[in-house]
């Protein structure tokens, strides 16, 4: 080292070379005043033993924004104070000595307009592997109005989709073709036809139906369209079936989507595993081609289910509404898959409301105005059946697609009978709700009455009456007054 360079070494406390705590680097500011344009994040942090929670919070702020592990003088070439994320508040998680909630504010200019990939590359980029925290979970985000306006959101969403398919005042009804794998194209189209003719609005491909040896995608698409159109003629109603265009490359996905459009489908489907950029691309394509985009959340439980580490599903809901999917699977509560009732209500509110208010009982930590981004329609799918219709109506409301796969196709008298049973159960429950009846308490009686003029419903009720999936949730909320259960 020569003399000149030693003479110019930086001597200030903050920028002298070496390692200093993150909280001293400017990533902790208890007096920070939040700007309307800031992106806010709430993380659940489990610090390593002995690590101060405030230092852990500052480290998370640092590692998800501008910091590296040591002091760098090149910070001084930038307006670094602005670009540093600031942890501004830390609180203990109720009834848990090891975990802390850390609130962090990010300057909006840190993020590229309209890019979920860029947003997430910062927020969930390196930081989740950071050694000083034992576990880390992104619980919620407040996306500012200004940033939301750089996203288009769903092209159709709840309102436009209802206008296109002409169904108002009741949940939409669907089913997933079963078995998921192995049917030939012709047999697959049969299931679509029977279900739609019986009274469903939609059938759908499952997440892993793409283009396998037993049924290539073109074969499926063509037979499904025959089923859809024939059922539309039989019932005089608009019908659809989600054609899954998930594939290995974007080029292949566009080819499948174009073909779906050419043969007259109103909806295509993608899986969450294709990634944020691919999802946004298909949503832009859907907007350009008048096509509803259905998103299956395949893979999400690998990072949303465990309470201490990963991403809460409500954050995925926010990213997907920004991305512009029209549908997203968001839980059933009573079905076979994970879902605490209040947490699921929080997901549905996140997808459907024009603006959100902080409500920790639902897991909503921030006020947030959705900046007129359209409502994304939640889909309830997985182990539900018509005997639960009063609970589903109560828990999930009117703006939802109820999907009964096994609950349609497993009907003893066939798919059409299964579809009719579901539709009659649904309509009778909505009718009773609107009439002001206590439909939750009287649900079983309402269904029994409806079954008097609908034999397929009676058969379904007899078959599935005792089936419930009442297990404790893994991803529970921290602020509930009383523990919730799906049994009611």
């Amino acid at each position: 080292m020569n003399d000149e360079s030693e003479r110019t070494r930086i001597k200030t406390e903050r920028y002298e070379a070496g390692v200093i705590p993150y909280k001293k680097m400017g990533y902790w500011d208890a007096d920070y005043s939040i700007k309307e344009s800031d992106v806010l994040c709430l993380f659940r942090i489990t610090p390593q033993p002995g690590v101060d929670p405030i230092e852990a919070a500052a480290a998370v702020a640092g590692e998800s924004s501008t910091a590296t592990w040591t002091v760098v003088w090149t910070d001084l070439l930038t307006a670094c104070d602005v670009y540093r994320a600031k942890a501004y508040f830390v609180e203990e998680v109720p009834n848990n000595a090891e975990e802390f909630f850390a609130f962090i504010a990010y300057e909006c200019d840190l993020f590229e307009e309209g890019s979920i990939a860029n947003l997430t590359a910062s927020i969930i980029g390196n930081v989740f592997g950071f050694k000083a925290v034992k576990a880390l979970r992104l619980e919620d985000m407040r996306l500012p109005y200004a940033y939301l306006k750089t996203f288009l959101g769903p092209a159709a969403g709840v309102i436009v989709e209802r206008e296109r398919i002409d169904v108002f005042g009741r949940p939409l009804l669907g089913a997933t073709v079963k078995p998921k794998l192995g049917l030939s194209g012709k047999n697959y189209g049969r299931v679509v036809y029977e279900g739609l003719k019986g009274g469903l609005d939609f059938l759908k491909d499952d997440e892993n139906i793409n283009s396998q040896a037993f049924m290539r995608w073109r074969e499926r698409f063509l037979y499904v369209m025959e089923g859809i159109n024939k059922a539309a003629a039989k019932t005089g109603a608009v019908k659809g079936s989600y054609l899954n265009v998930t594939a290995a490359t974007m080029e292949e996905m566009y080819e499948r989507a174009e073909f779906a459009r050419e043969i007259g489908s109103i909806i295509v489907m993608i899986d969450l595993v294709i990634g944020y950029t691919a999802i946004q691309s298909i949503c832009y394509w859907g907007r350009k081609n008048d096509m509803i985009v259905h998103l299956h959340r395949a893979g999400h439980s690998t990072y949303t289910r465990q309470k201490t580490h990963g991403i809460n599903f409500r954050v995925i809901c926010k990213w997907m509404r920004m991305s512009g999917v029209d549908h997203i699977h968001a839980g059933t509560v009573v079905g076979k898959l994970e879902g605490d009732p209040n947490a699921v209500k929080g997901f549905y509110d996140t997808l459907l409301l024009p603006s959100l208010s902080e409500d920790r009982n639902l897991g909503l930590f921030f006020d947030m105005d959705w900046a007129s981004l359209r409502k994304c329609l939640p889909v309830a799918s997985g182990g539900i059946h018509c005997g639960q219709m009063h609970q589903l109506t109560h828990l999930l409301g009117e703006d939802v697609v109820l999907q009964f796969g096994g609950g349609t196709i497993g009907h003893p008298d066939g798919i059409q009978a299964g579809a009719t049973a579901n539709r009659v159960a649904l309509e009778s429950m909505v009718l009773a709700k609107n009439e002001g009846r206590d439909y939750l308490a009287q649900g079983p009686d309402i269904l029994k009455e409806a079954a008097k003029t609908c034999r397929p419903l009676q058969t379904a009720l007899d078959l599935w009456k005792a089936i419930t999936f009442d297990y404790a949730s893994t991803d529970t909320l921290d602020f509930e007054a009383t523990p919730t259960s799906s049994a009611s």
Partner: protein
């Protein structure tokens, strides 16, 4: 014979006037403006049925709406009539409920025309037996 299953209660037995009144009361209480529309061309893509006057904005009692329905039925017996509730709440500004309140005694339904396209592609058209058989106003 087919049954057109548009609207939210069409797989149930046809609603009685008492049941319709209950839905009308619910709609009024929800702040919807009810509209009566009729057609003898219920093609699934026919989204503009004929309006029986304007939507009944600011009508607080169900009896007035049921009176308009009975007048519409008198003027247009034997065709399709539906009741729709318009909701002008911010973030909705669309229809929030829609259900059939009259249908023809006999519904001949629709048939599918298949035009063979390129390769295995088929271009589908849904056509109505009733529309094909007679002009507007003389179909049912």
């Amino acid at each position: 014979m087919a049954r057109v299953t548009q609207g939210c209660f069409s797989l149930l037995p046809d609603l009685t006037d008492e049941q319709i009144t209950a839905q009308v009361k619910y709609s009024i209480a929800s702040g919807y403006a009810l509209s009566i529309e009729y057609t003898d061309d219920p093609h699934p893509r026919n989204c503009y049925w004929e309006m029986w006057g304007l939507p009944l904005f600011d009508v607080p009692d169900a009896a007035t709406i049921m009176y308009e329905l009975s007048e519409c039925r008198k003027a247009h017996p034997g065709v399709y009539i539906k009741m729709s509730g318009f909701n002008n709440a911010r973030g909705i500004e669309s229809t929030s409920i829609s259900f059939m309140v009259q249908r023809p005694a006999f519904e001949p339904g629709f048939y599918l025309v298949r035009q063979e396209g390129k390769g295995r592609n088929i271009i589908y058209t849904i056509q109505s037996y009733a529309v094909q058989s007679a002009g507007e106003g003389a179909r049912y």
